[in-house]
């Protein structure tokens, strides 16, 4: 039964009917008992009345025709009671017309029942010893049952009428009571897919309010997710257009020019633009993925040094050299983290550092520990970030005044999101010893696992400093 209304209707109508039937049963039993009581009282009273009226003469001097008992001339109305008067010696002295001539009861006193000629009689017997008579008053059980049945019928007749009426009332009340639900459903049905405005909780009954509250919560969640999506889409559309325009222009030049050196320049510009667009697309995908993943498993023990070295190795070799120095202590630093996200953060930090570097500069990776945290830092020798922009650069799409032309405004936002998902945080500061940015990963100690190098050969490996040819993008 999928309709709440039908379900409630059936439940209410059957419950009401059951209660009615139970009530009728109860009333009929009670009524029967009461009616019997009253009728018994009547029998008893009638018997005593008759016995008080009988004179001893009637009994003591029986007439000549004493064989035939005196039939009491009671006016012919529909009687319910009949009476016999017996002398104590077993002679029927008198009886009413409806009474049989055989004794209604053998009992000397009190109530009894007897079946005579197919009719069950209930009889009250009273003996008047002083007058020598026994008075028996009885009525037929059939009459009693008819009386009880009449009472029950009187009760049943309205029930038959009332139950459909009740059914109708229940149906109408349900319709009315469920109207807020229906109107809410109607409103939701009529909504267009973009409408994420909350449902007005004003007219909603308290029982449905939790549903409305949850729905509104869901709406706002969906809306903010969609807002994110729209932002990313709009940003992607906007940010991709410029490199695409550059690509197209350079391609047209390569086609149009007859000069082979101009063509080669155009082609190498195309390569630069493709690389940069690739990075932008990768970052957009990363941020979309980070937005989509609420809970990430942090189940890998990641060797930070190894991860950094892998990132450094994977950087494409460019046309001018940037040195990378990785602190050997990083090789002993393990984070319990989500591997992918940690690598994503490290790579974006590394790329960010490399991109802002002048030719021949050095990117340095360090690690230090304090009581609460492990701090992994990367320092570049670029222009740094103006102090007033430091709190803003982790906002997605933010590009400051000194943005590099190749920046997407997403790199640091990705780093922060990826670190936050790992329970860590990002701290940015300008270097004090020279120009440049210092980015720190603050990793709380609880999620740190510090391994101690065990073998001598492993110890040896930590001594080296690597110098790798790398390049940032040309324009700074």
């Amino acid at each position: 039964m999928s309709s709440l209304r039908t379900r409630l209707f059936v439940i209410l109508v059957s419950a009401t009917s059951l209660i009615w039937l139970f009530a009728i049963g109860w009333i009929s039993v009670g009524t029967k008992h009461e009616v019997e009581n009253v009728l018994d009282k009547r029998l008893e009273e009638a018997a005593r009345m008759v016995s008080s009226l009988v004179t001893s003469n009637n009994v003591a001097s029986p007439s000549e025709d004493s064989d035939s008992p005196h039939v009491l001339a009671v006016p012919n109305y529909e009687r319910q009671l009949d009476c016999q008067i017996w002398s104590l010696d077993g002679r029927l002295v008198a009886r009413t017309r409806g009474a049989p001539s055989t004794s209604l009861s053998d009992s000397k006193a009190g109530f009894s029942e007897r079946l005579i000629d197919g009719v069950t009689w209930r009889v009250f017997t009273t003996e008047v010893a002083g007058k020598g008579i026994r008075v028996l008053v009885g009525d037929r059980l059939g009459i009693r049952e008819r009386l009880v049945a009449d009472v029950i019928k009187g009760l049943l007749a309205p029930t038959v009428l009332i139950i459909p009426l009740l059914g109708f009332l229940i149906w109408a009340s349900l319709n009315r009571g469920l109207r807020p639900l229906r109107s809410m459903a109607f409103e939701l049905q009529g909504r267009n897919a973009d409408d994420m405005s909350p449902i007005e909780p004003g007219g909603v009954p308290t029982e449905i309010r939790p549903v409305v509250t949850s729905l509104n919560g869901l709406f706002s969640k969906v809306e903010s997710a969609r807002q994110h999506e729209r932002e990313i889409t709009a940003f992607a559309a906007h940010e991709l257009r410029t490199p695409l325009a550059g690509l197209r222009t350079q391609a047209q030049i390569a086609i149009a020019t007859a000069d082979s050196s101009a063509r080669n320049t155009a082609l190498s510009q195309i390569l630069v633009a493709v690389d940069r667009t690739t990075r932008l697309v990768r970052q957009l995908l990363s941020i979309a993925k980070l937005d989509a993943s609420d809970n990430v498993g942090r189940d890998a023990s990641v060797n930070v040094g190894a991860a950094v070295e892998e990132i450094v190795d994977m950087q494409p070799i460019r046309d001018h050299r940037i040195h990378v120095v990785v602190d050997p202590a990083l090789e002993e630093t393990f984070f319990t983290a989500n591997y992918e996200l940690l690598v994503l953060a490290l790579r974006n930090l590394h790329e960010n550092a490399v991109h802002h570097m002048p030719r021949g500069g050095t990117v340095r990776w360090h690690v230090k520990h304090d009581i609460q945290n492990t701090i992994v830092s990367v320092e570049d020798e670029g222009p740094g970030i103006p102090e007033e922009e430091l709190p803003l650069v982790t906002n997605r799409f933010f590009r400051g005044r000194h943005k590099s032309a190749s920046g997407s405004g997403l790199g640091l936002a990705i780093v922060e999101l990826a670190l936050r998902a790992n329970g860590a945080s990002l701290n940015l500061a300008n270097r004090t010893d020279r120009s440049g940015l210092r980015a720190e990963i603050i990793w709380p100690a609880r999620s740190r696992f510090q391994s101690i190098p065990t073998s001598a050969s492993e110890r040896e490996r930590h001594g080296h400093i690597q110098l790798l040819p790398l390049r940032g993008f040309g324009a700074h």
Binding site: T242, Q250, Q252, I253, V272, K403, A405
Partner: protein, 221 residues
Amino acid sequence: MRILVVEDDPVLSDGLRVGLSLFGATLDTVSSCADGRAALALTEFDALVLDLGLPDGCGLDLLRELRARGDRTPVLLLTALDEVADRIKGLDAGADDYLGKPFDLDELGARVRAISRRRSGRASPLLSCSGIVLDPAQISVTRNGESVSLSRREFAVLAALMDRPGTIRSKDKLEERLYGWQEEIESNTVEVHIHYLRAKLGRHVIETVRGLGYRMRVGAS
């Protein structure tokens, strides 16, 4: 034709510099509002190709500044914002045309020619004077219906003179049309180009106004 490009994307900026010079224009490129402002203060340009999202501000602000001080340089906006509302905003700020990225290089060239033509008050895409017809789109010149072959610089000098026939152009102004800032100006170069133009088109076509400059002789044949 001398064009200033204000665009911060290095690949696109380079593409515009090379691509538009294929159409015979002389290009200068800068990558910020501040540099654009400085360039406009120094040199008179035939057209300005302006990007909106610049590192130190919005191109629209530069455009408004330009128009506020009465600068009539034709401006073509180049932007990744492609909504109708953005276009309206750009045009209302004083732009002459609007092109959304990515665009076709040939179309950009045509639009730049169109806005600069409109600014000089011509409806015809062809420049003609004394039987000489110059087609900026094709970079071709005919004299009395016969095609004349000119070098890029000779073409630029002729185009500058034919833009407003009868108007005197100083040697400096002509030089400005020929060389971007990055280019070395050779001395006597304008005189050399004028000499070759006269040789190819006829001695009396270009008139020397002593002490002032050069002009096209109107009505000469």
